[in-house]
Each structure stands twice: as C-alpha cells, then as structure tokens.
C-alpha cells in the first residue's frame, strides 16, 4: 500500500512539474502564487514518495522488487534504510527528492520575480525529465505479487557507516548545480549585462561545492579503510567523474569573485555553469551505465545509459543554445597583474586540470566505441600531469590571499612570499637528500604544499590580531585545506612504507621500526556474517597495540571480505589487512602499511568543506529578507 501511494505521488509530481515548467516560462506577476504553490506541492509529493520507499525498506516489504533485490531481513535497520540509495533506482529517487528540496529552498529566497519564476520553470523541466526517466526505465516501485519471504541482501561492502551516508552527500553536490544552471538559463533568456551573479549564484554553488568536497573526502576515507589496499585515491572513473564537476565549481567560485569586483569574466561564468551542470550529468551517466570498468559501478541495462544520454543532449542543447543566442556583451578586459587577473589565471589552470582529467577518463570510452579495443589509463598519467599544476596554483593562492581588491602592486607581495619559498625549498632539498633522489612528484607536492601552508599560516596569524570579515576566514580556510591535503599526500609517499608479511605462531615480522607478532585466532559470529579474526600485536619499541583484522563471510549475498584493523594517533595511520591463510597451520599473509600524515588528506578535505559552511553562514546573515 505504501509503495503504491509513493508511486502515485511520484506520477502526480511529474504532472505538476510539467505544469510548472509551462507556466514558469512566461512568469508574469500573477504567476507567482501559482508557481510557489506548485513548488511546495512538488516538494510534498516527492517527500511522500521518498519516505514511502524508505518505509518499504525499513519494514522489509518484499512485495516491492527493489526491496527484494537490495535488502534482507538480517540486515541492521540502518542499512535497510540506507539500502534505499545503494542501487540505481533508489538513488535516482534520491536525486529527484534532492532536486525538489533545493527547488523549494530556492523559491524561499528573494529574487526579482521574472528571473526567479523562469528559473523555477526550468527546474520544473529538469524534474520532468528525471521523473519520466525513473518511471520509464528505473522504477523503484515495481511490485511482484508472489512476495518472497526473504530478499537477496545487500553487498556487504556497502554495509558500512561511511558509505551509507556518502551517496546523499555526493548527490547533494551533483543536484546542487541544477539551481545555478536553472538561474543561468533564466538569465540568458532575459539577458541584461552586469547582473549580480555573485550574490545570486553564490549560495547554491557553495552548497553544491561543499557537498561535493565532503562527499569526495568521505568516499576517499571509506575507500582507504574498507577496500584494504591502503590507497585513498585511484583515479578510478567513478572518482574522476565526481572530481570534474568539483573542479568546475571551484573555478566558478573564483570567477564569481572576479565578476563581483569588476564585472569581468561574465560570458565565461555563464558558460562555466552550463559546463558544470553537464559534468554532473556526465557523472550520473558514467556511474549508472557500467560502461567503464571501475572499482564500483552499478551494472545496468543500456536503456538507462541511453536515457541519461538523452537527458544530457536535451539539457545540454538547451543550455548551449540559449548561451549562443543571448546578446552577451563583452565584459571589461582583465588586467593581468591584478586580483581579477590572478583569478582569471586560476580559472585557466583549473580548466587545464579539468581537461586532463576529462581526457584521461573519457578517452578509453571513445576508443572502445570506435572499436579500438578496451584500454585503461593508468594512474601515473594523472599524477604526472596534475601534481606539477599545484605549483602555479599554490603561488596564485598565496598571492591572491594577500592582494586586496583594486591593489595593482603585486611585486612587493610576491617578495613577501620569499621566506616561505626558501623554507619550502630547504625542506624539499632535505627530503631529496634523505631519500637519495626521491619520488619527484611527491617532492613537487611537498614544495607546493609547504609554500602555501606557510604563507597562509602567516596570513591567519595576522588575521587573529586584526578583526577580519567572515569571507576572509572562509577563503583562507579553504586554501589552507588544499595545502594540508597536498602536504598529506606528499608526506605519506615520502615517509610511508608498505609490506606484505607472513605471520604465524612462531613467526615475528619486522617492518621498519615496527614488530608484528601473531597472538591468536578466534571465530566471530554476528547478525549477517561470521568471521575469522586474527589478533596481532604491533609494537614500535615503546608502545604495543593489539589490532584484530578479520576475514568476514557475509550470508546474503554470499561474499568474503576483509575487515581492516587500524591504529591512529591522528597524525599517522598503522594499518593491517588480512590476506590469505596459508597451507601451514596458523600462518597468514598480512599486509602492513605505515602511513604518516595520511589523515591530513581528509583533514584538508574537511577544512575545505568547512569553508563552504562559513560562506553559507555569511550569506544567510546578509541575504535580503524575502
């Protein structure tokens, strides 16, 4: 019953969104109450639909096909609920619900009605496209009338607190770009030069960018501790596909500042928003259709991939068409050595990074389509091309942070960074000497990260003495986060080590300063798995920790997975993963990682997400009352 209600609510929402799309395209003053009512009811209906599916999962309603395929009574309740977005159909419903919620939030902000009404209309058209796609190709509400007593269960890799909440946050990031996109479409239809783009777009870009930052960081952390390979980024297509809109949105955030100051980069901003939205659609397409081999992808029917490609063509065509037809005026030209000039240069470098990632991710797809066989682009491609870019970016960041608007006197500020440059150079030379050459890329990252970190730390100290506005703190937090991330990456490579060891009853292994001794084994039984647990004593001479990695066999579906065991003091991670049990009794292969500074990678990500929050707080305080 709940499932049918949810299904009908969604269908009704489709029609209401269609009406909203139609009315919104001609937003006279009389249409405001109508459209607002449509937005409100759309939000109500999609929430009803979303909750209905959630209830079906929570109660293990196996008359719904979706619940059968993705759930099992033995699962803990929280994972029954999060199973809703663990698969294709449910996650699309989440997408639609997020779109509806953001639309509702957007309708509460005060904007000139002709702009806002039309934007709400475009958002209605987006809603129509996605709900139609769901109902036709990926309906989560399909029923079966011989309801089985048990479901097929959920992939145990997804039964994890980190991953349970990763999709909604990441989706907020993807869907969040829809609001700026709809606004831009609306502004292109009724184009006037020098609209307050920064004021109007900024909060939505911040929500989207912040959510993507948080989602990507959480995904990276999850991959590190669950997948058992001690890596936090694999340049896997699914990761890249989240990174690309993130790069576009970062560029957008900076370009909007330039526009707020001088009205510069206006045409570029309009185009960039369209690009960012199309990239988030590409992300959806690549994740959904299983086209590329990747660490995780939902296997899926080609009709879905084609459907999303169709949506991409429609919205992309619409956006680019409106962009081409709008009578865009040439914005003032950019003076190279000014704040605006630095921001423009930043955009150029980020677009370069974006093109590199785009090319590396999509080239295999192109080759495959034209029959050239199947190929993968290895991680070194991305590392070699992108890490050197951190040098100019950090320089721009350090300089830009010190340059106040209108100040053209860049030279003395550049000199003020000299001390940071010297210290960093010394640090790099030290590691180069210590490692007898050392991995070049990590050294580059170290140099860039430390220059930025030192410069920003200096600025922050100054900021503590004199009062600074919240946006200033936000900017420096984000930049600091980026430098902390690069430092974490570089130091982990330069200082860490990884070993595969054989441990047994009489075998003690040594890895650097660490000694590992096998203490014992036991069997563990839980809700939906049974496991063999191996207790290992890890000692560095002064302290000993007992870590207990496991090999779990899940019941539904039948799958064996390793559960890693870690010890961290906040600044480094010691990591153990069980390999195979060997033929000799009591002997195991164990993978040991010593990763100093790796948590900095995620601290950096969290700092950047925090800066988005600071920016939003600033906007909320200062926004015009509705």
């Amino acid at each position: 019953m709940t499932v049918e209600l949810a299904h009908y609510a969604l269908i009704l929402a489709l029609f209401l969104a269609g009406i909203r799309g139609y009315v919104g395209l001609r937003p006279g003053p009389g249409t405001q109450p109508v459209i607002q009512a449509l937005v409100g009811s759309d939000f109500f209906l999609t929430t009803l639909s979303f909750l209905g599916l959630m209830v079906a999962f929570a109660l293990s309603d196996f008359s719904a096909l979706d619940v059968i395929i993705n759930s099992h009574t033995a699962k803990p309740l929280i994972y029954k609920i999060t199973a809703l977005w663990s698969h294709h159909e449910g996650s699309l419903l989440l997408w639609v619900w997020l779109l509806s919620s953001l639309t509702f939030a957007f309708s509460r902000v005060a904007l000139p009605w002709d702009v806002q009404g039309r934007a709400l209309g475009f958002l209605g058209l987006l809603q129509v496209g996605f709900v139609f796609f769901i109902l036709v190709t990926s309906n989560p509400f399909l029923r079966t009338f011989e309801a089985p007593l048990e479901g097929l269960g959920l992939n145990p890799l997804l039964q994890d607190p980190g991953l349970a909440f990763h999709p909604p946050i990441l989706y907020l990031g993807y869907v969040g770009v829809a609001v700026p996109f709809a606004l831009v479409l609306s502004l292109l239809v009724a184009y006037e030069p020098r609209r307050p783009l920064d004021a109007w777009l900024r909060p939505w870009v911040l929500i989207s960018w912040g959510a993507l930052t948080l989602g990507i960081t959480m995904g990276s952390w999850w991959a590190y501790y669950v997948l058992g390979w001690g890596g936090w980024w694999f340049w896997d297509p699914v990761e890249n596909v989240a990174l690309m809109p993130w790069l576009a949105l970062t560029a957008l955030l900076h370009a909007l500042r330039a526009h707020a100051q001088d009205g510069a980069l206006e045409r570029w901003i309009y185009l960039l928003v369209i690009i960012a939205f199309l990239l988030s659609l590409v992300g959806t397409f690549l994740v959904r259709s299983g086209v590329l081999t990747s660490v995780h992808s939902f296997a899926s029917a080609p009709s879905r991939g084609l459907g999303i490609l169709g949506l991409f063509a429609v919205y992309g065509g619409l956006g680019l068409n409106l962009f081409a037809r709008a009578p865009l005026v040439s914005p003032p030209s950019v003076v190279p050595l000014s704040r605006t000039g630095l921001l423009a240069a930043h955009n150029i470098f980020l677009m370069l990074a974006l093109s590199i990632v785009f090319f590396g991710t999509l080239y295999p797809l192109l080759v495959q389509t034209f029959g050239g066989g199947s190929l993968t682009v290895g991680a070194p491609y991305f590392n070699v091309t992108l890490i050197p870019l951190s040098l100019p970016l950090v320089f721009l960041m350090a300089l830009g942070g010190r340059l106040s608007p209108g100040n053209r006197d860049v030279a003395p500020l550049a000199w003020s960074l000299a001390w940071a440059g010297l210290v960093s150079f010394g640090l790099v030379a030290l590691f180069f000497y210590k490692n007898k050459g050392g991995p070049v890329l990590a050294l580059v990252g170290l140099g860039a990260g430390s220059v930025g970190f030192l410069a920003i730390a200096q600025d922050l100290m100054g900021g503590i003495r004199q009062p600074k506005p919240l946006p200033w703190w936000g900017m420096h937090t984000a930049h600091l986060g980026f430098c902390v991330l690069i430092l974490g990456m570089a130091l982990q490579v330069l200082l860490g080590h990884e070993r595969d060891l054989v441990l047994g009853p009489n075998i003690t292994a040594q890895a650097g300063p660490y000694t590992l001794k096998l203490q014992g084994e036991r069997d563990v039984l839980a809700d939906n798995y049974y496991a063999q647990e191996v207790r290992i004593d890890l000692s560095d001479g002064s302290h000993t920790w007992t870590l207990a990695p496991q090999k779990r066999t899940y019941i539904a579906p039948q799958m064996t997975l390793s559960q890693t065991a870690m010890h961290s003091n906040g600044g480094q991670i010691l990591y153990l993963a069980l390999g195979d049990r060997l033929a000799e009794p009591g002997q195991w292969i164990v993978r040991f990682y010593h990763h100093p500074f790796v948590p900095f990678v995620w601290y950096g990500g969290f700092l950047m997400a925090l800066s988005a929050l600071l920016g939003l707080i600033h906007w909320i305080r200062r926004r015009p009352c509705a």
Partner: protein
C-alpha cells in the same frame, strides 16, 4: 615596464606553462595506456613485449595453486587459456569460476606476471570487458 611589455611577458609565461603542461600530458599519456586483451587476443594479436597490459577472463576451476605468498591460476575465454602468476594479497572477491582482470607484463606468450588483480564488487561478478569478449565468442 610598459603595460604593453608587461602583457607580452604575461602572455609568454602563460603560453610557456601551457606548452609544458601539454607536453607532460602527451608524454604521460603515451606510457600509461594499458590495453585489455582476452587470452584469444593475446595469441592472435600479441601485445608489444614488456608493456603493461590487462588480461581478463574466467578463472578456470581447479587451476588455482598457492605456494606461500605466490599464486598461479589459469584464465580462459573458453577458446584459449593463459597462465597468470601473482604474488600479492588476493582480493576477496577472487574465486574460481568468476571473472577476473589481471594487470602486469607477459613473460612468455602464455604467461603473465601480474602486479594487480581486479575482481569487481558488483551484483554480477564479471567485469564488462570480460563479459563482452565472452559474448563475442558465442557463434
């Protein structure tokens, strides 16, 4: 410095850094294209020697042998087979009778020394390339 000269210098710096970037991209790309082969493709169109490649297929039942940390097994696409040896920690989803992708270099035309094994965690335990080559086999 005159504004005109300054602009020229700025432009030159930009062009230089972009060229270096593009150069790095092309260089890195050439060495990092890893092609996928099925066992049949390895015999029919052998890959250039010494290059890292990926080979995929079904793990033949009964072919997995472990000795200490080393493991050898046979992949098949039901027309040809290839032996693979691997010395690292085996991914949990690796099983006889399911699909696997191995990345490494060929030591002989029928043996691959693998550095990485990929077994996908997806409802259907078969990487798309393997599924595609297997379906291409069916007459």
């Amino acid at each position: 410095m005159k504004p005109k000269h300054r602009r020229a210098l700025g432009l030159a710096a930009l062009v230089l850094s972009l060229s270096i970037s593009v150069g790095l991209v092309l260089y890195a790309f050439r060495d990092n294209m890893i092609f996928f082969y099925s066992p049949t493709q390895v015999t029919e169109t052998p890959p250039p020697p010494g290059k890292i490649i990926r080979i995929g297929g079904m793990v033949e039942k009964g072919s997995v042998h472990r000795k200490g940390a080393q493991m050898t097994f046979v992949v098949t696409d039901f027309k040809n087979t290839l032996t693979i040896s691997y010395g690292g920690v085996v991914p949990d989803l690796f099983q006889e009778g399911t699909g696997v992708v191995a990345q490494g270099t060929l030591t002989t035309p029928t043996h691959l020394e693998a550095k990485t094994l990929l077994a996908k965690h997806d409802e259907k335990y078969m990487p798309p390339e393997v599924a595609r080559t297997l379906s291409d086999q069916k007459p």
